[in-house]
Symmetry: C2
Subunit: 377 residues, 2 copies
Amino acid sequence: MRLEGVSAWAPDLTWSNARVAARLRLERMRLDSRRRAVGAPALSPEEAKLFQTSDRWVRRFIGFSERRFSCDGQGTSELAAQAARQLFDGLGQSASDIDGIIVASVTPTHLYSPPDASLLQHALGIPVWRGDAPRELKGADVSLACSSWVAALGLCYAQIRSGMARRILLIGADRMSATINWRDRGFATVLGDAGTATLCSSVDVADDWFEPQRFWSWLDGSHADIILTPAGGSKHPTPTREEVESGGHLLAMDGAAVRKVLVPFIGGPAMTTALAKAGLAFADLDVAILHEANLVLNESIVREWRELGFKGRVLSAGGRFGNTTSASVPLALALNADQLPVGTRLGLIGFGGGLSASFAFGTVRQALPAWTNVGAS
Amino acid sequence: MRLEGVSAWAPDLTWSNARVAARLRLERMRLDSRRRAVGAPALSPEEAKLFQTSDRWVRRFIGFSERRFSCDGQGTSELAAQAARQLFDGLGQSASDIDGIIVASVTPTHLYSPPDASLLQHALGIPVWRGDAPRELKGADVSLACSSWVAALGLCYAQIRSGMARRILLIGADRMSATINWRDRGFATVLGDAGTATLCSSVDVADDWFEPQRFWSWLDGSHADIILTPAGGSKHPTPTREEVESGGHLLAMDGAAVRKVLVPFIGGPAMTTALAKAGLAFADLDVAILHEANLVLNESIVREWRELGFKGRVLSAGGRFGNTTSASVPLALALNADQLPVGTRLGLIGFGGGLSASFAFGTVRQALPAWTNVGAS
């Protein structure tokens, strides 16, 4: 399998850290005045802290400067379709000969149905019929928290390597702004929206960027509660009015626990085990792209790798887009594709909620053309 | 790949058609009295019709007699874990040597995070470490409306056939009761809850039940609106109070359009194209298991197949569990496994929202052991 091209698209609307901080302040004032109106006690200092942040704090502890938000009506499939149109326009190809659509996302456009893969077929005008016979088009929406895209890349590889598909459009897209609880700076300072599209094509084994043993994944549900949405899923489908009011149907994170568990794990045994399975050493890795969870957290991970012998470069979106979940790794790929000459040995690493982690090691064997609507890195 | 065993688990709570009809009536009375209280006009006859059904009507036009519902707190991962425990107990094996968990579902236990694959790892006590190295466990939650399970079966096959995994636990589970709008008989008379677990194991090619070309899939988003949840997804994440009140965040269906589009398509060109790709004729098919969307609709499809030469048997859950979405095909497999002697040529067919369709043709090469908590078919 080859990555024939990659495209990233982010909405125009930019939110600086200062604007996020102001939005959290506004939310606190609203809550304060509602409490006063019903004679409830004022927010405690601990409660008030959840609304408090600043540009300086976010830059220092998260490393992000800004992010993009889409608008109501502009769901994940719209972000994905923009990226995919840009990809096929750039490649000078029509989308009509792809035989699969895999959508990596944790924020489906619609709950339950229709799947985003079907929405993409229609948005891109991919033909459904060839003469009087229906045309094959495999599809799936794939979700594995912040590991979704790398896990879905593995599923594309499995389908192409086994001869079940030849050209798969791999989407990585999330409208994470839809999941933000404005009463909790934890994720409000972190999340952003973006769509990406990557064309995965069948090539001869000699030109294959990957190998089956170059994918490694991991699941650990014992820490499931540290990145979790309490209400709204099938476990508790109908949140009470109070739960909705306090954002119980929105994503919550125990940031300290995430750092405590994931930094030593991804920084040590996960990476060494994944590399060993791939038959690689740290010194074999020219470039690493990590899911952009939080740049400061990622720096801690990379520091551990350095001690173990990693000498390569780390490419990222540079904190300009926030944590875009399923879009983060391909977004960094698209922004930095000019820094991936043929021969580059590349590590693509997703990790996060679940807990989950997903690794893919590949060698760039043909130039990777890339397009974005937001310039290069 | 071989299906080493299959298990289905349904909750104890049985809802007859009469109980569903009574629940809809109750909802109409509540709405009526709320309208009277605010001086709003009474329900029009057309509006009132949406609440009207009966045991006789459901049996005649849908073919279902009853279904099972789980309780609040018992999300999809709980249904899945029950089925998986029953599977490994039955097989006399521990779950600890599986290297992948694929969860086919449209009703994730939690929105956004954690994924059900991680919850299953923990619920089944699958080890995460082997000595001081983390143990590989691939995972993904896969969603493609009513085609989810057959599509996910194809992804299991791709991973095993390409050498990326050896033993995958394939879950097909949905708590569809969480998606029911009790103001609309359309889905209220149809949906049910169930969990299933299937162990997909690597075998020599000579013993392979499937082949890459025996999977065929299709997507058509031009009819996306006929099975759709208007609000609550990333396109429109925050339903208004009125939308929640009228069930805008719940699944809706245009049943007449579904029949009009899907019966001729699955009954004709989809099946003939999928068979042709597989190198099979209708006469080569001993058994077909269709997603149990609606038994009367499925009979219309099978009638079209008969005219084209299909002479095999159709196995189902017999209308006792409703439409369980991602669980329906493996539920029918588990209930009827004793009717699948070695050599049986089997068609597994999912179709529905998206629109989407997914076909798999296999040959039973070893007996398929099965377990359920609800007896045989």
